[in-house]
Structures are given as C-alpha cells and as structure tokens.
C-alpha cells in the first residue's frame, strides 16, 4: 500500500470514527449473548426449521395430489426460504439491540466511544453470522426433506439471497429508528416491519392477486420484483436481469431515506432522553 493510499484509508476511518476493535468487540458481544440464551437459539434455529419442514411437507403433499402443481408448491417453499433471510436479519438486529435494553445495559453501551455507524455495522454483522447458522441448518433440512429444491433454484439463488440480506439491513435501520423514537415499547417492530413488507412483497402469491391500491404500493417495494422473478424463473427457467436492476434502484432510495430516519431519530432520542428510559 502506498503512502497516499494509507493516508486516504486513515482519513476515511477517522472521518467515520470507525474502530475495528470496537466493531469486533460489539459483534462478539452480540454473539456471546446468543449462545446461552435459549429464546434466541429457538428464534434463530428452531422456529425457521419447523416452518421449513412444515412447508416441505406441504409442497410434497401438493405434488402427490397433482404432479403438475409441483411448481406452485416450489414457489411457496422458495418464498418461505428466501423470505427467511430478510425477516431473520430484521428480527435479529432488533432483538440484539433490545436484549441490551432489557438487561439495562444499553446506557453502558452508549456511554462508550462507540459511534452509531459502528453500532449498526456490528448489529448487522452479528445478525448475518446468526443468519448463516440458520441458513446452514435450513440447507441441511432441505437436502433431507426436499433435495430437488437446489436443482430447481441453482446459483441464481445467491443473487436473490444477497439482495434480500441487503434490503433486510436497510429495513433494520427503519426498525432501529422506531426504537430510538419510542424506546423499548417497540419490541414488536422487527416482526411488524417484516410481516407488513411481506404483504406487498408478494412472497407466496403473484402481484396480480393484490387489490389495485396494494398492487400500486407493491411497485415501490423492491422485494416484490424479486419474488416475481423467483416465480418466473421457476415456471419458465428464464432470469430477467431487469428484475434485479429495478429493485436495486428502489433499494438505494430506501437506503438514503433510512439513513436520514436513523440520524434524526437518534438525535431525537438524545433530546427526549429515550436512551435513559430504555
């Protein structure tokens, strides 16, 4: 690395007040708190596994009744599997943050030199690690109960997964903003946001099913394009790149709005003393 490059890197890190040690410390903190917490383990590993097994059997049952309807079953199953990535990221981010609030540790965290940027990145990274554990278990279960799934989805599934993880992180920023605004009363916000967006994302049904006003809204929800794309790919085997380009643009707008929301809600939390009541 040249001197100029190292100077730029140093400037960038200082400008963003970023410390790898703090990031690493907080990420480990969120992982430590999971390993002995049975509620977290159940939410991360047990609940998604049970849901997956249930839908595997549903798909197999649809296939037994009518083998032509396998693709319908597959589209429902893939909806469940892929939606799990997004929902897990939001719910984990909120749960990790609120775990400290419920333990009365949140003030201890905020009086350290940690920046909001480091905090959110640590939350996302820890959620990502937990989601990978969940993904690993789900993959094993899919191999056992529905091995055809991977042959139908293929490598293209990685693009959808990556997109859903990124969008999940952005929605988590909105969830954190609500917590900064209203405190620990917002413990339901992770579930609420993921379920609310799920309606417009058309996870298990086609967009055309929605009534006109909801359908109109769904055009502004990037995940609706993704699940439409998954269904199209499963039925025709064709992947249209536009189905990923359009949602990327919309996601970028969501990202900008979420940053503004987070910044102002954090400032409000300090003004209204929310952090001291949480």
């Amino acid at each position: 690395m040249t001197e100029r490059q190292s100077r730029i890197k140093k400037y960038f890190l200082m400008k963003n007040n970023f410390s790898f040690q703090r990031f690493f410390g907080l990420t480990l903190h969120y992982l430590y708190s999971m390993k002995r917490n049975p509620t977290r383990i159940i939410e991360i590993l047990v609940w998604p596994s049970l849901e997956l097994i249930l839908f595997c059997f549903l798909t197999l049952s649809i296939n037994t009744v009518n083998s032509n309807m396998l693709k319908l079953g597959l589209s429902i199953l893939s909806g469940i599997v892929f939606w799990n990535f997004l929902a897990r990221i939001i719910q984990e981010t909120v749960a990790q943050f609120l775990d400290d609030a419920f333990s009365k540790n949140i003030q201890n965290i905020f009086i350290t030199p940690i920046s909001l940027f480091e905090l959110t990145i640590s939350l996302f990274f820890a959620s990502f690690v937990k989601m990978c554990l969940s993904l690993l278990l789900l993959s094993i279960l899919l191999i056992i109960f529905f091995p055809l799934f991977f042959s139908y989805i293929g490598y293209i599934g990685l693009i959808w997964t990556l997109f859903l993880i990124v969008f999940g992180c952005i929605l988590s920023l909105f969830a954190l903003s609500f917590i900064f605004l209203y405190g620990e009363r917002m413990s339901f916000i992770g579930w609420f946001i993921s379920t609310f967006i799920e309606i417009f994302s058309c996870v298990m049904y086609a967009r055309d099913i929605l009534p006109a006003p909801l359908k109109f809204i769904s055009f502004f929800i990037p995940t609706s394009y993704i699940f439409e794309s998954i269904r199209q790919y499963l039925s025709t085997g064709i992947f249209n790149p536009m189905d990923i380009i359009i949602p990327v643009y919309i996601t970028f707008i969501f990202f900008l709005i979420s940053l503004i929301c987070l910044k102002y809600s954090y400032a409000y939390a300090k003004k209204a003393g929310i952090l001291t009541k949480t």
């Binding site: 480990l28 201890n108 350290t112 920046s115 003393g273 001291t276």
Partner: protein, 249 residues
C-alpha cells in the same frame, strides 16, 4: 464559539497543566426541560483535574439528568458542556474514551458471563492487555470466582462490583458514579473509596459522585454541589445536608 482543534487542545492542556488550573469539566448555562417541566435550569460550574466532587440532592432534583448530560445520553436544550476544554457536542467520542461511569441501577448483558461482558467493554474502550486488567480488577473487588457466571444470576451487590470493574477498565481520567454504594457492604465501600483515593493521588483521577447519602460524599469528596428543583443551591466545601436545604425556600 471558535473551536480549537483537538490536537492543539490536548497539547495546550499538557503544557499548561503545571501552571494554570484549566477546568476539566465546564457547564455553562445548561438547561433541560421535558414538555413544560424544567428539570435543570442555568447550571453553571466547573471542576478541576483531580477534584472529588459530590452531587447531592433530593429525589427529582435533577442529579441523574445532569449525569446523563455529562455522559452524552441526553442533549441539553441550552448551554454548553465542555470536557478537557472540548465541546461535548462535537467531540463526544474522544471525550467518552477518557471517562467512565458506574451505577448500581445498571446491569451488564444478562446472558453473557462477567468475563465476556468485561472483555466487550475492554474492546469498546480499546484497552490494551484486557485480560490482565480484568484479572486485577476482579480480584481487587473479590469477584474473580464469578468470572464465568451469567450476569443475570448475580446479586445486586455483585452486579455493582462488576459495574465498578467495567468503570476502571479504561483507566479513566474522569469517573462518574450514580448511587454506587446502594447495594455494597461496608467493606466493599471502603475498598472502593481507598482505590479512588489512591488513583486520585497518583493519577489525578477526577471523581463525580452522585448520591442521596451525605455520609458517602462527606467521606470521599472535598467539594459538594447540591441541587434542588433543577438549580444549584450550594457549591462549596462539604457541609451538613440539613444546613444546605434548610436555607431553601
């Protein structure tokens, strides 16, 4: 107000600290209200390096709000808060790196062990030789045997000791305490006070001690700031509690 860059500010403080007494903490005209209730009004004081100051007041006097403003958990409506001659608003990260806080009312993360929690805070404060520091502090406060116990299983007194260990981890220049002796036995209180006196003598540690208990403040602190209904009603040498508030209308 013109802000002196941090680099020069620290250099200035180091070079002049022998001759001129620069306040370490400066509150000027600080006020805070929620809706129509005034919590703090025109709070102005300064604390010098190495001072041990007690903040006393009845319930609802604004002690904890004052502490939360110092810790950057709450932003004041008016006035300025400066630490190490730096404005808290613009330099929170560098200020918070040099101070710490302990309260008997806060707990660390319940599902992590004492050791895991302390390591986390060691990393958040970028402490060198974290493990050695944790070992020394936990053995000083007699909680070494609880290192691998989950925090939610600890008693209130043990939890306070863990919080104390956390507060000493980064060798702070300013230490803030909120009702820290509420759950401590007399032996632990005397150990804490002797550590604070030692650090005050050797490292010029500045202590802000918020409490209802006048006895603790009298034992530890040389200066007393008394608050009542959001106003400073007394700032000076520690005198009897009753005498301060008896003059209040």
């Amino acid at each position: 107000m013109l802000e002196i860059p941090i680099r020069y500010n620290i250099r200035l403080m180091k070079s002049s600290s022998k001759n001129i007494k620069i306040p370490l903490i400066q509150f000027s005209g600080v006020g805070k209200s929620y809706a129509k209730t005034t919590i703090l009004s025109n709070i102005t004081f300064s604390i010098l390096k190495g001072e041990m100051v007690g903040i006393l007041g009845p319930i609802g006097a604004g002690k904890t709000t004052l502490l939360h403003i110092m810790l950057n958990l709450i932003k004041q409506d008016i006035g300025t808060v400066r630490f190490f001659s730096l404005n808290m608003e613009h330099n929170a990260q560098s200020i918070l790196q040099r101070m710490n806080f302990a309260s008997s009312l806060l707990r660390l993360n319940g599902y992590s062990s004492v050791f895991e929690n302390l390591v986390t805070f060691g990393r958040l404060y970028r402490v060198q030789n974290i493990k050695n520091k944790i070992m020394n502090l936990t053995s000083y406060f007699n909680i070494k045997h609880l290192m691998h116990t989950k925090v939610y299983k600890l008693s209130a007194g043990e939890n306070t000791k863990v919080n104390l260990c956390k507060s000493f981890l980064n060798d702070p220049e300013i230490l803030l305490f909120d009702e820290i002796t509420a759950y401590l036995d007399p032996n632990s209180i005397s150990k804490l006070f002797s550590l604070l006196r030692k650090k005050n003598k050797t490292q010029k540690l500045t202590v802000l001690y918020v409490s209802h208990k006048y006895e603790d403040i009298e034992t530890l602190c040389s200066r007393l700031i008394a608050l009542n209904k959001g106003h400073i009603v007394y700032d000076g040498k520690a005198i009897k509690n009753q005498e301060i508030f008896s003059h209040e209308k």
